[in-house]
């Protein structure tokens, strides 16, 4: 099986064996639930509940605050305690709706009711998706109903389901592919119904042969859907590299996938679409892999959004005392948490407990210009030169050598033999460039 791929990239230690054979377990929260109003890219959602209100499972508690924004639904039933700023994964304090869980899980009317998507119009489907609060669950959190509403539905040739899961350690998408392939196919069919000319590809890296087998079996009867096998390489699951590998088309930072006739959705997003449209269940849960050498019992969990990572980890059996670093997400692009009492959000994918902080252990030394950063960069940039501009705070020079094309995948930093902190500097410089652009 030789998979399609892109130029560049690297092969970090996979670490998926820790959790890849462990089925998804449901987890029940006991503590208070925290719903930050910013769990997506775009305008924050506007709370529509007040302290003291009683809410039910699946009830909308905040509505989209703009065009690029989406709703947020409660994952438990209970009473709204207050609305206040709370710490989130990114380290920022974000307005959050705090709900006291009454542990009864009373569902809102119509929750889980079967629906036939064929009887719905395109607008109704998009409205369903918006009401369910679905966002890109691969990490970026772009509101899905916006993604699914390009200028011209007929110009979309491919709907890609991103099952690459190229981040080391993560196995949540993999488990979903094995455990509920029907829902993936179902969700993809809903999306395909929006785009009459599109073919559906389920893209999977070739290190997941079981998932490929299961899904290939499932798509046998589907005319418009096929499985696309990709080479295992980081960052294969990045939107731009995925589109290139699957369709041969290329987009840059100034383009949207729709410009290349593509729509890309994560596995879990597609499942959420299926649930929202066909079962009337909004996005109120997330598959989270608790893993890493520091985790006592690695496991894949179905976690209600709003639950604290701290409680998730406690229920998972905690982490051992050797743990020095806890990351939300994968080791290549995830966020390190100094305090794990932060809520699981729509974009959370893993809680990774590392017993070794490889970044802190290794001091950067002089660049020897080995060129490894250049050869791995999936955006074909020259990170070595970008770093020298970034270190001089020369934003203009940084932009001139296409620094803004970087999507911070971390490949250059992973391979750098001098252990230089490239991505870290790029992040700073890119923020600073974006800020100054906004001011203009």
């Amino acid at each position: 099986m030789k998979g399609a791929t892109f130029k560049g990239g690297t092969h970090p230690f996979e670490g998926k064996d820790l959790s890849k054979d462990l089925p998804v377990k449901k987890i029940v929260p006991t503590g208070e639930m925290v719903y930050p109003v910013s769990q997506h890219i775009g305008a924050p959602a506007q709370p529509i509940v007040k302290p003291g209100d009683h809410v039910l499972v699946g009830q909308t508690i905040a509505e989209a605050g703009g065009f690029v924004s989406t709703d947020i639904c409660s994952s438990v039933s209970g009473t709204v305690k207050k609305i206040e700023k709370r710490l989130t994964v990114s380290g920022a304090m974000v307005d959050s709706i705090i709900i006291e869980n009454d542990k009864e899980y009373t569902k809102i009317e119509g929750f889980g009711e079967k629906r036939e998507y064929r009887s719905l119009s395109k607008e109704e489907i998009r409205e369903c998706i918006k009401k369910a609060g679905i966002v890109g669950m691969g990490g970026a959190g772009f509101p899905t109903h916006v993604k699914l509403a390009p200028k011209d539905d007929n110009a979309i040739d491919y709907v890609l389901v991103n099952g690459a899961e190229c981040e080391p350690y993560l196995t949540s998408d993999y488990r979903m592919m094995l455990e509920c392939p029907e829902e993936i196919i179902g969700g993809l069919k809903v999306i395909l119904s929006l785009f009459p000319n599109a073919k559906g590809y389920i893209c999977i890296e070739d290190n997941k042969p079981e998932a490929i087998k299961v899904l290939e079996q499932q798509v046998l009867k589907e005319e418009r859907i096929s499985v696309k096998v990709l080479k295992t390489k980081y960052p294969q699951g990045a939107e731009r590299t995925l589109i290139y590998a699957a369709t041969g088309r290329m987009i840059n930072s100034k383009m949207l996938p729709a410009d290349a006739g593509c729509v890309v959705n994560n596995i879990d997003t597609v499942i959420s679409v299926y649930k929202a449209v066909c079962q009337n269940i909004p996005l109120i849960r997330r598959i989270v892999t608790v893993t890493g050498e520091g985790a006592n019992h690695p496991q894949n969990f179905e976690v209600p959004t709003g639950m604290s990572y701290k409680e998730v980890l406690e229920q998972a059996g905690g982490c051992n005392e050797k743990t020095v670093k806890i990351i939300s997400g994968g080791p290549m692009m995830g966020m390190a948490l100094y305090d794990i009492d932060v809520p699981v959000m729509k974009t959370s994918s893993a809680l990774l407990c590392l017993t070794k902080d490889e970044v802190a252990e290794q001091e950067p030394t002089a660049c020897i210009r080995c060129g490894r950063c250049v050869s791995v960069c999936p955006s074909k940039l020259v990170p070595q030169m970008m770093l020298s501009y970034a270190e001089k705070f020369d934003n203009e020079g940084f932009v001139k050598i296409n620094g803004m094309e970087c999507y911070e995948c971390g490949s250059c930093t992973y391979v750098c033999p001098a252990k230089r902190r490239l991505t870290q500097s790029f992040k700073q410089t890119r923020r600073s460039v974006m800020d100054s652009r906004r001011k203009q």
């Binding site: 490889e358 030394t365 020897i368 094309e405 992973y414 033999p417 001098a418 992040k427």
Partner: protein
């Protein structure tokens, strides 16, 4: 659970390779050629190699100590320079000249420009050229088995283009096989083509160097020699030119020096082509039979320019241009 965990921006994992492991691999790759040199030139070669290695390490240590910098002798880069310099010297070189060359390589070429990664030319080659100019006689007198003899390349050059390559070599008591195995006069490291190829294979397997520079260099050089070497399409002549002199050592170990070669892929190709042409020009039209060292340090100076014109187009922009 209230203890604070480490925080840093992603990525949180690093590959196992470091500057140290890379330089150690280069040292390992240099060993076959060093051993071949010691086998051919015996004690003399061993002493020269030891002298340059120790002198380079000491220079780096003393300089960094005096300047209160972090001591970097542990990263093997000074050892690589020392070995390369020793390999670029004739075995009969007086040891004090070897020491002088080492000091020049590390102090002047490397440290004064800012240390590892900052030098604009290969330290070992810079020192070789410095010694070439200062001590031309001693740097170009080669002995084999105690008898002073010209290198096969010099013999070929003096014989002119009308003489048969095989005959010229035989008359001077050598053969292509000797040139390949290393039983010829020359500098310590460039004598055995076979040993250099073994070391180069190791570098390729360990992915320390990529194909662009050596392949373009040797390829373009071969074409140049066949066209302008004056021997027509004589395969024997080409083989002699390839095995003789510093071409292989230069192409695999010195032109590929990370610090002084372009960082972009296309830049490496351009760099290799420039090297091939320049080496050919120096060998065919130059005063000496050799030309590799000068070609490499000259091209080292071109690197910033080459990088500027070979900046890769970022992903997603190439196609855009085509459709326009």
């Amino acid at each position: 659970m209230s203890n604070l965990y480490n925080v840093s921006a992603s990525p949180h994992v690093r590959s196992k390779d470091s500057t140290k492991t890379i330089m150690r691999d280069v040292v390992i790759a240099l060993l076959p050629a060093c051993l071949a040199g010691i086998w051919v030139f015996k004690m003399e070669a061993l002493l020269v190699l030891l002298t340059t290695s120790v002198a380079c390490l000491l220079t780096e240590y003393i300089y960094e100590r005096l300047m209160k910098k972090k001591i970097t002798t542990g990263d093997y880069s000074a050892l690589v320079t020392g070995l390369l310099l020793g390999m670029n010297l004739p075995p009969s070189i007086p040891l004090w000249i070897a020491v002088l060359g080492s000091v020049f390589a590390i102090l002047v070429v490397k440290q004064l420009f800012g240390g590892l990664g900052q030098n604009f030319m290969n330290p070992a080659l810079g020192a070789r050229c410095f010694l070439m100019i200062s001590f031309t006689g001693r740097m170009t007198s080669f002995t084999l088995d105690g008898v002073s003899s010209a290198t096969p390349l010099a013999v070929l050059k003096n014989a002119g283009s009308s003489a048969s390559v095989m005959d010229t070599l035989t008359q001077n008591g050598t053969s292509l096989l000797n040139m390949f195995l290393g039983n010829i006069g020359g500098t310590i490291g460039e004598t055995s083509a076979l040993a250099i190829l073994i070391g180069a294979a190791y570098l390729f397997i360990r992915r320390i160097i990529s194909w662009e520079i050596p392949v373009c260099y040797i390829g373009v050089f071969s074409v140049f020699m066949l066209l302008f070497g004056g021997h027509g399409l004589d395969g024997m002549y080409l083989l002699a030119e390839l095995c003789g002199g510093g071409l292989l050592l230069g192409a695999f170990f010195m032109a590929t020096d990370y610090v002084t070669s372009p960082i972009t892929k296309n830049g490496k190709i351009v760099f290799g082509i420039c090297l091939g042409i320049l080496t050919g020009i120096f060998r065919v039209y130059g005063g000496s039979a050799e030309g590799v060292s000068y070609a490499i340090i000259f091209c080292n100076l071109l690197v910033p320019l080459i990088e500027k014109v070979t900046m890769p187009k970022p992903f997603g922009y190439v196609k855009e241009k085509k459709t326009k």
